[in-house]
Structures are given as C-alpha cells and as structure tokens.
Assembly symmetry: C2
Homo-oligomer: 221 residues x 2
Amino acid sequence: MLKVAKDEKTEQKRSTAQRIEHSLMEEIAVGELFPGQRLDEVGLAERFGASRTPVREALSRLTAQGVLVAGEKRGVFVAKYTREELSQIFEAMHEIESACARIAATRLNLLTRSEIETAQTACVLAAEGGDRTAYLRANEGFHMAIYKATGNPYMAEIALEFRRRTGPFRAKKFATKEDLIASAQNHQELIDDIFSEDSATASKSMRDHMTVSFIQALKAN
Amino acid sequence: MLKVAKDEKTEQKRSTAQRIEHSLMEEIAVGELFPGQRLDEVGLAERFGASRTPVREALSRLTAQGVLVAGEKRGVFVAKYTREELSQIFEAMHEIESACARIAATRLNLLTRSEIETAQTACVLAAEGGDRTAYLRANEGFHMAIYKATGNPYMAEIALEFRRRTGPFRAKKFATKEDLIASAQNHQELIDDIFSEDSATASKSMRDHMTVSFIQALKAN
DNA sequence: TATCACTATTTTGTACACAATTTGAAAAGT
DNA sequence: ACTTTTCAAATTGTGTACAAAATAGTGATA
C-alpha cells in the first residue's frame, strides 16, 4: 500500500459511524463547533451524506466520552462548562497529570526521554514561528509523550480523555506569540524535573505547570 | 406516583437501550457475564425482547466506557485483562482513589461524614451477615460516598469508571466471610484517617488500603 | 495430506419507515 | 392580560430490511 492509501485509511478509519465520530471530535477540538452548540441528527446526517443510524452511534459514543452532553431539553450539545465546572475538571486533570509525571519520572528510558525531547523541540519551533495551531498540536504531542513514558496505557487514556474534553477551553489562552513562548519555556522546566527521575520533584513541577496553565485558562473563559 | 411506579422507573430508566445498558453493566459487575465472553447482538436482542438497534447502542456505549472491548475477531467481548494489564489498571486506580481521599479529607462536612459512616455501617452489617453480594454492593456504596465527599463530580466519574471496569476482578477476592470482615475493618482505619482531615494521612491510608486490595485481587486472578 | 480457493453462512453496518414523545405555539376561557 | 388547554410540528427511539464484509467450511488439486 502506498502512503496515500495509509493516510486515507487513517482518515476513513472503518465505518461511516467512526468517520463521523472522528470528524466531530476534530471539529470540537479545533473549535469549529463551539461549546453549547446543539447537534442535530438529521442535519449531521445530511452533512455527512449518511443516514441517521451512524450519526446516532457517533453521538452516542461521544456522549459516553463526555465530549458531548445530553441537554435537559432535547438534543445533544457540545459540552459547555461553567467556570465552576471548569475549575472542577481542571482539578481532576491536575491530579492525573501530576500522577503521570510522578510515574513517568520513575520509568524513564532512552526512548521515552528522546520522544519527550523531540516533542519539546516541536513546541519550541512552533512557538518561535508564532504558529498557534501548530503549537496546539505540538503541545498535545508533548503531553502525550509524557503519558506514554508512564508505560501505563490506562493512565494515558484518562489523561487524554480530559485533554480532549478541555481542549476548546485551554486553547483560548494562547492568544499571542508570547503566550506560546512562555508555555514552551514552562515545558523546559518541567522536562528538567521529570528527567531528574525524582518522582516528588516531577510531580510538583507538573502541578505547578498545570496550575499556571489552568489559571490562565479560567481567566480566558 | 406510587412507590412501585418509582421503582419501575428506576428499573426501566428511560429507553430500551438504557435498560439493556444497565442490565448488562449489572450482570458484568456481578459476574454473570464473565470476562472474555462474547456478546451476540441478535442473542441479546431476543433475550431483551427488542430489536438489534437498542442493543447496538448499549454495546456501543459500554465499549466507549471500556467495560466491553471490540475483539480483533468479530463481536464485542466482556473486557478481559492479563495480570500485567490488570496491574496497570490497578496502578491507575490507585492514583485516582488516593487523590479522591486526599481531596475528600480537605472538604468534609457533616453530610458527607454522615454518608460515609452510613455506608460503612452497611458494609459491617453485610460482612457480619456473611452476605457476599450485599457486601459487594455496600462496598461500592462506601467508595462512592468518598467520591461524593470530594465535591468533584469529575473525579467521582473517573473513579467510578475504573471501579466498574475492575468490578469482576476485585469481586473474586471475596471468598469467605473472613475476607468480608477484614475488608470492613480496613475501611474503618481508612475512615479514621480521612476524618482526621489531614490530606497526606488520608491519601497514604487510601494508598495502603488499595495496595492490599489489589494484591489480593491479583492473587485471585 | 496439506494448501489453496471458492462458496455458504453468519454477522455487522446502514438505510428507511413508523411510532411515541416532547416542544412550541395558537386559541380559548377566566 | 394571563393562564390553561389543545393541537401541530419536530425530534427521538425502535423495528425491519437489505447490503457488505468476514469467517468457517467444503472441496479440489498438487
């Protein structure tokens, strides 16, 4: 198979339902679908050129993941959180991220160190270039490299789930090039502490990083 | 509405799909459906007197929650974990439970203290009666009372999700009445430490409780 | 006997249609 | 003018049918 075919497979995944699910997830993460927006089954069916059945399956799964919520009225909506709820979500994410850093610090190896550094390089490049979208992606990659370094796919899974749920809200805080550069510098300190292989230091450093990040995000929402 | 009607509503919830979802979740938690077992869409449809449509929705949601997994062959299966995977899941659960205990210790109030004590009373009663099923339920209630005491529904949500995923595996370790009583006594120590309102003590106590619990569970699986 | 190919059967994915709720609005009555 | 009731339209939930895909089984050939 050629590269193109592989890319197509990555895009199409398997079924129509999965294609719709991933498309919606992407649109929510990027912010094309804004929080609170209602998702109409028939409308989506027309948009994707499918029937309601696969659309329903996609919506159902996204709801189970917490990316969408069933409103008290009819319809499902892109999850929208009050500042209070956002604060609670960030508190939970805070705990999980720092647990990841703590575990990762005890399990580092050459491969995972290298992957974290590579991801950080991408962050720095995107920040210096002032490319906001690229930085958002690189930032995800950086945190995912840390998740992977835990060697625990289940920790990684929940960390990633929170990251998805909060994506639209965290993205807001990156307005200027200076924001990007400041974030990338924060990463560097975090890396140093994780690479010290002292779990307490790593955990505390991640706590600080996330605290800063969340306070900025709360201000922007 | 009469009490009976309310119970019926609790049982039926809302839609056929949700009824099936909860029934399956229950059966998995109790162990009627054992890990690795294949779930057949048409078979379930007949069993629940419904068509494949709501069955598919239920299976889809349970898969998104990690209770079921899509096998490499056809069909969905009750999640089955190797001892290695189980160990990783327990590690993650370990982190989350102790984070819950830490947060709960800082946010206790009269209501949540009372709810934790009530849940513990139910545990002790079930343990002394040697009623394994009742103890399993009471134990869930006890941990859920702690989750609730965090005041953070999102922490509670992920903790509960792990609890569901590991239900069948943790249940195995409760074989004799002595197992139940020992577990209930462990609870009491944990309560004392959480009620001390010192977050570090509470967290450490939960870590110890879960460590013991998981080691026993790993032995039994 | 083993391997390959082809067919048949099971199973999954999607479309469509219908039934059951719910919401919103209009109309009627106080 | 405000409440209540009724009705219509939109929307969701479920059943059924059909198409596509995959697995298992059977047979043929080397």
